[in-house]
């Protein structure tokens, strides 16, 4: 896990994100397309500190440091595919 991967996905493991759907994100690895799996590392992170905002942004995820609000497995995978495609262009 320590080897540097191209994409680092950090999943917020705080209470709010967890109950707002973050629990499902822990299974992200199962949904990654095979081509991406080698390039992505998945980590847990303590609360991002977005909890006090009164907008609906949970669950939160960071991809290479950029936050992705209202994350879902679908959204993360799509985002990763876009990033990867742009890179290949």
């Amino acid at each position: 896990m320590q080897a540097k991967t191209k994409y680092k996905v950090e999943i917020c493991c705080g209470t709010m994100c967890y109950i707002m759907g973050g629990a499902d994100l822990h299974l992200l690895n199962d949904y990654l397309p095979a081509a991406l799996r080698q390039l992505v590392s998945i980590e847990g992170a303590p609360c991002f500190g977005n909890c006090d905002t009164h907008e609906k942004i949970h669950p939160c995820v960071r991809i290479n440091g950029v936050e992705l609000p209202n994350a879902s497995t679908r959204k993360i995978v799509d985002k990763l595919i876009i990033l990867e495609n742009n890179d290949l262009l």
């Binding site: 707002m20 629990a23 980590e43 303590p46």
Partner: protein, 395 residues
């Protein structure tokens, strides 16, 4: 009130005579919290089976009540002997008893009647306290000799109370024609403590029991009970949950946890972040639990367990409420925490009182109880059901 420098661990191991369904021995302990006092009574009823069990249970509960109310010991013993029903076959009313009463200073008083002697182990040998004998006349005309003694307990002392099922085990064998005997038991205890100086009360009680059973070739010929009391250094644990109300207490919280002697749990994302910031240590979260029913545990050097806050606490409280003995299965964050609680004697809870605004959002799909309430509930279960010493400090 709390003048004692050790914690008292009391564990009982009991088995009934082969072919009987109930044990004719009774042993009961009671902690009087306000007085910081522990009373243990062991009684062996005449015969075996239900009848013996009733005699023994009556004896223990009377002895406990009277002792707790500080009735003079003579009165207690006399009353017990007079109150027991008379056995129709043998025309006597009879059950043995040993009463041990330890006060908040660690002074123990012992009352013994017809049980194998209570053993007090101290640093390799057995202490023999000064005994005084009182004769009590019984309704059947026979005199009963009751022994009284007092001991000042020291840290690392062990007290072993057994019924004669233990000392008489193995009777009739070639090597032990008269049974294992009190001397055999003493040697066994010495050997075991010498080879494992930190042996817990429960382990020692179980070992004695197993050995006695082996003496009896695997099935007891009499009811057997073994109560072990161990005065030892308390196993301490600290649980920090919730951010302090005032920001300037963050540092203090972190330092107290860091310098605490014992096991350490941090419960709550924000709390662990505060401590990580103050102690300048990283938090790592492993995401390898694939059926997560709770957010995963995190790791930080120097801390034994880091979990999420309110959801985990809720589950911990539910587990504690439902378990009936000291064993928990499962490896989830809540189970790990429960196990650590059960393995400790005194638990300090540092409860931060800052309310998490996010949790008070009415749009949340689940209702989150206020952390303080859950903590209070956990504390009271640990105290009342598991006899732990609990201290809660609000920050």
């Amino acid at each position: 009130m709390h003048n004692r420098h050790f914690y008292i661990e009391a564990e009982l191991c009991q088995e009934h005579k082969a072919m009987q369904n109930v044990c004719g021995d009774a042993c009961e302990s009671r902690k009087l919290k306000e007085e910081d006092r522990l009373i243990t009574v062991l009684s062996d009823g005449l015969g075996s089976g239900v009848k013996a069990n009733i005699l023994a249970t009556m004896t223990t509960s009377m002895a406990l009540q009277f002792t707790a109310k500080n009735d003079p010991l003579e009165r207690t013993s006399e009353f017990i002997m007079k109150a027991l029903p008379v056995d129709s076959k043998r025309q006597i009313s009879y059950s043995t008893f040993s009463i041990l009463d330890i006060n908040c200073f660690g002074d123990a008083s012992l009352v013994e009647f017809d049980n194998p002697p209570v053993l007090i182990y101290r640093r390799g040998r057995f202490v023999i306290p000064d005994q005084s004998v009182k004769t009590i006349s019984r309704s059947d005309g026979m005199d009963a000799k009751v022994l009284y003694s007092k001991v000042e307990l020291k840290k690392e002392d062990r007290i072993i109370m057994v019924s004669d099922g233990i000392t008489q085990s193995g009777m009739g064998n070639i090597h032990t024609p008269f049974g294992w005997g009190i001397d055999g038991l003493k040697t066994f205890i010495q050997q075991n403590i010498q080879s494992n100086p930190n042996i817990s009360a429960r382990q020692l009680a179980r070992k004695i029991m197993q050995r006695a059973k082996t003496n009896d070739k695997g099935s007891f010929t009499d009811d057997a009970s073994c109560q072990v009391i161990y005065c030892r250094e308390p196993r301490k644990l600290v649980l920090a949950s919730g951010p302090p109300y005032y920001k300037n207490c963050d540092k203090e919280l972190a330092e107290r946890i860091d310098s605490f002697q014992g096991k350490k749990i941090i419960c709550g994302g924000t709390t662990s972040k505060i401590i990580s910031r103050e102690l300048k240590r990283d938090i790592a979260i492993e995401l390898n639990n694939y059926k997560p029913d709770l957010p995963p545990v995190a790791e930080m050097s120097g801390i034994d367990l880091i979990t999420e806050g309110i959801l985990t606490l809720g589950k911990v409280s539910a587990i504690l409420e439902n378990i009936s003995n000291n064993t928990v299965k499962g490896t989830g964050p809540a189970e790990q925490m429960v196990r650590m609680f059960l393995d400790s004697d005194s638990i300090l809870i540092l409860a931060g009182t800052q309310i998490n605004n996010a949790h008070q959002d009415p749009n949340l799909p689940v209702e989150l109880e206020i952390r303080r309430n859950v903590i209070k509930k956990i504390a009271s279960i640990l105290e009342e059901k598991f006899f732990k010493t609990i201290e809660i400090e609000y920050l």
